[in-house]
C-alpha cells in the first residue's frame, strides 16, 4: 500500500482486496467478544482534522483508531485557531510537531488532502474533500456489497442521484470499477459532472429502466448545501423521477440491496419505508465503516515506517 489514502485510485485491485480482507478478519476476530480492543497501534497518534461537519465519518474514524489503541485527537475547525485565520498548512505542521503519525482530514476544498500529504511526514487519509473523493466510504460500501452478495466481480451497481456534487459517487465509481463491478450512474443531466463520458460507467437518465437490471442500488444524498443553482425544478419532481419508493423497489430482483451513505433525506431521495426495509444496508454500512477504517489505519500505520 501507498503511504497515504487520498483517492480510490490510490488502491489497485490487490490493495483494495487486501483492505477488504483485513476488515473481514478484524470483524471476525472482534465478533462477539467483550473486549473490542486490539493493542496494535499503541503509542501511535491519529489526528482527526475536520474542517467540515460530520457525524458518522468522524466518530467512525475515532472509534477505529481507539479500537486499535491509538491515541486520538479530534480537531474541528470551529473553536480552533482556524477561526483566527490559521492556514491548513500551519495547522497541519503544528499537529505534526506535536507528534501525529496520521492525519485524517475532511475539508470543503477538493484536493486539500493532496496538499496536506506534501507537507507532512505522516500518513494522510482523505475523509472527504469537497466534491472530489471519499475513499473510505467507497471501501465500506464495497465491503458491504461483498458481505451481502458474496462477490464484487460482475455485480451491477446503480449509483443514483446527485453525482455532480457527490464525492461518495466518485470514489465508488473508481473503486467498484477496480474491483470488477459494473456501474451505471443515474441522474438528471444537470446533476452529472462534465466529463462523465470519460468515467468507466454507463449513464442513464431513467431510473425505472435501470432498476430491474441492478444488484445494488446506491442512493446519493441530495446535497442542499452545495445546490447554489437550480439543478431541478422542485424537490417534489426530483423525488418523483429519481426517488426510491416502495413501488420502484418492487421492480428490483429478489436479492438486490439498497444502500445510502447517509445522512438521508427521508422522503426525498429515499422513502422511509425503503430505508427501513430488509433490503436496506444503511445501518450495516455504518457498522462496517468502523472495521474498514480499522483495516485502513492498520495497513497504513501497522508496519515499519520506511
Amino acid at each position: 500500500m501507498k503511504r497515504h489514502l487520498l483517492e480510490a485510485a490510490d488502491l489497485d485491485r490487490a490493495d483494495a482486496t487486501l483492505v477488504l480482507d483485513t476488515a473481514a478478519q478484524i470483524d471476525q476476530a472482534l465478533a462477539g467478544r467483550e473486549v473490542k480492543k486490539l493493542p496494535t497501534l499503541r503509542g501511535r497518534t491519529v489526528v482527526n482534522l475536520f474542517y467540515e461537519d460530520s457525524t458518522r465519518t468522524r466518530i467512525s474514524f475515532e472509534l477505529a483508531a481507539k479500537r486499535l489503541s491509538a491515541d486520538v485527537i479530534n480537531f474541528s475547525a470551529k473553536g480552533s485557531s482556524v477561526s483566527k485565520g490559521e492556514s491548513l498548512k500551519d495547522t497541519a505542521l503544528t499537529l505534526e510537531a506535536m507528534g501525529s503519525d496520521a492525519i485524517v482530514v475532511r475539508h470543503s476544498a477538493s484536493g486539500a488532502p493532496h496538499r496536506l500529504a506534501n507537507w507532512v511526514r505522516g500518513s494522510v487519509v482523505n475523509a472527504g474533500d469537497g466534491t472530489h473523493e471519499h475513499p473510505t466510504q467507497a471501501l465500506l460500501d464495497a465491503y458491504t456489497i461483498r458481505q451481502r452478495l458474496g462477490r464484487l466481480e460482475g455485480v451491477r451497481v446503480a449509483v443514483v442521484g446527485d453525482v455532480l456534487h457527490s464525492r461518495v459517487a466518485r470514489s465508488n465509481v473508481w473503486l467498484l470499477h477496480t474491483l470488477g463491478a459494473e456501474v451505471t450512474v443515474v441522474a438528471p443531466p444537470t446533476l452529472l459532472p462534465v466529463g462523465i463520458g470519460s468515467w468507466p460507467v454507463e449513464v442513464s437518465y431513467d431510473l425505472d429502466t435501470v432498476l430491474p437490471k441492478s444488484d445494488v442500488v446506491m442512493m446519493l444524498r441530495v446535497q442542499a448545501e452545495r445546490m447554489n443553482a437550480s439543478f431541478f425544478p422542485s424537490a417534489r419532481e426530483y423525488s418523483r423521477r429519481y426517488g426510491l419508493d416502495a413501488r420502484r423497489v418492487a421492480a428490483l430482483a429478489d436479492d438486490a440491496i439498497v444502500m445510502h451513505p447517509g445522512p438521508m433525506n427521508r422522503g426525498m431521495e429515499i422513502a422511509a419505508e425503503v430505508a427501513d426495509s430488509a433490503r436496506s444496508t444503511i445501518v450495516e454500512q455504518v457498522g462496517n465503516g468502523v472495521s474498514v477504517r480499522m483495516a485502513v489505519l492498520y495497513l497504513l500505520l501497522g508496519g515499519s515506517t520506511q
Binding site: 483485513t22 486490539l38 508496519g303 515499519s304
Partner: protein, 210 residues
C-alpha cells in the same frame, strides 16, 4: 512407536550440538509425532478434569479446546483434534487465533496480512485451552497469543503444544507438549511444511537466513 522420535539427548535442546542441515522429520515421522501428542493431550485432559476424571481417558476432553496459531499451528491443531477423535471417539473443539495484531515486532517489518480468528461456539471461558504452534523459538509468538487469549475470554488453564522446540528462548516460556526437541544454531532456520499449507509433511533444518 513414540519413543522412536523422542530426542536421545534429553529435553533441553540447547545443551546439544546444533543439528546439521537436512530433513529433521519425514512425513511418517510427522504423523507419528502428531499421534503421540494426541495421546499426551488425552491423558492431560483426563487428569486435569475439574470433576476428577472417570479414568477412561475421555472425561476432560469436552473441556479441551485446541487453539492453533496461524499459519501452520491452525492445521496442526485440526490434525491433533482429528487424531484425538480417532483414538477416543470424542470430538474436540478447535479454533484459531491470529496474533498479528498483538505482535511486539510490528514496527520492525512491513505491514502483514491478517489470518482468521475463529473460536468454537462454546467459547474458551473456563476451559482448558491448548495453544498449538509449529515451531517454538523466541517465545514471542506465544506471548502475543497469550495476550490475544486474554481479550478472547478467560480459560481455566492455558497450555502450549508445539511440533518442534528449537530453543533460543527470549522470554520465560516453555511448552507443555513437544513433538521434537531440536538443538539448533540461532542462524539456522527450522521450516515446518504441512500438506494443508505446503503440499507435503516434513520438517527441515536449513543454514543461514531465509
Amino acid at each position: 512407536m513414540a519413543s522412536s522420535t523422542e530426542p536421545a539427548r534429553g529435553t533441553a535442546p540447547r545443551t546439544g550440538d546444533p543439528s546439521s542441515a537436512g530433513t529433521l522429520l519425514t512425513a511418517a515421522d510427522v504423523g507419528r509425532v502428531i499421534d503421540r501428542m494426541a495421546h499426551q493431550l488425552i491423558e492431560r485432559a483426563a487428569t486435569s478434569d475439574p470433576g476428577g476424571g472417570r479414568g477412561d481417558g475421555t472425561a476432560g476432553l469436552s473441556d479441551l479446546v485446541l487453539v492453533g496459531i496461524p499459519t501452520r499451528g491452525a492445521p496442526l491443531a485440526r490434525r491433533i483434534a482429528a487424531r484425538i477423535e480417532a483414538f477416543t471417539g470424542t470430538p474436540v473443539d478447535v479454533g484459531t487465533a491470529d496474533i498479528t495484531l498483538y505482535r511486539d515486532d510490528l514496527r520492525m517489518r512491513g505491514v502483514r496480512a491478517l489470518e482468521p480468528t475463529v473460536l468454537p461456539d462454546a467459547g474458551i471461558d473456563g476451559r482448558l485451552v491448548v495453544l498449538v504452534d509449529d515451531v517454538l523459538f523466541s517465545g514471542r509468538s506465544v506471548r502475543a497469543a497469550l495476550d490475544a487469549l486474554r481479550d478472547l475470554g478467560r480459560p481455566r488453564s492455558v497450555q502450549l503444544a508445539v511440533l518442534v522446540d528449537r530453543g533460543h528462548r527470549e522470554l520465560p516460556i516453555r511448552a507443555d507438549f513437544v513433538g521434537k526437541n531440536v538443538p539448533t544454531a540461532r542462524s539456522q532456520q527450522v521450516r515446518v511444511h504441512l500438506s494443508e499449507t505446503d503440499g507435503v509433511d516434513e520438517v527441515l533444518v536449513t543454514e543461514g537466513e531465509s
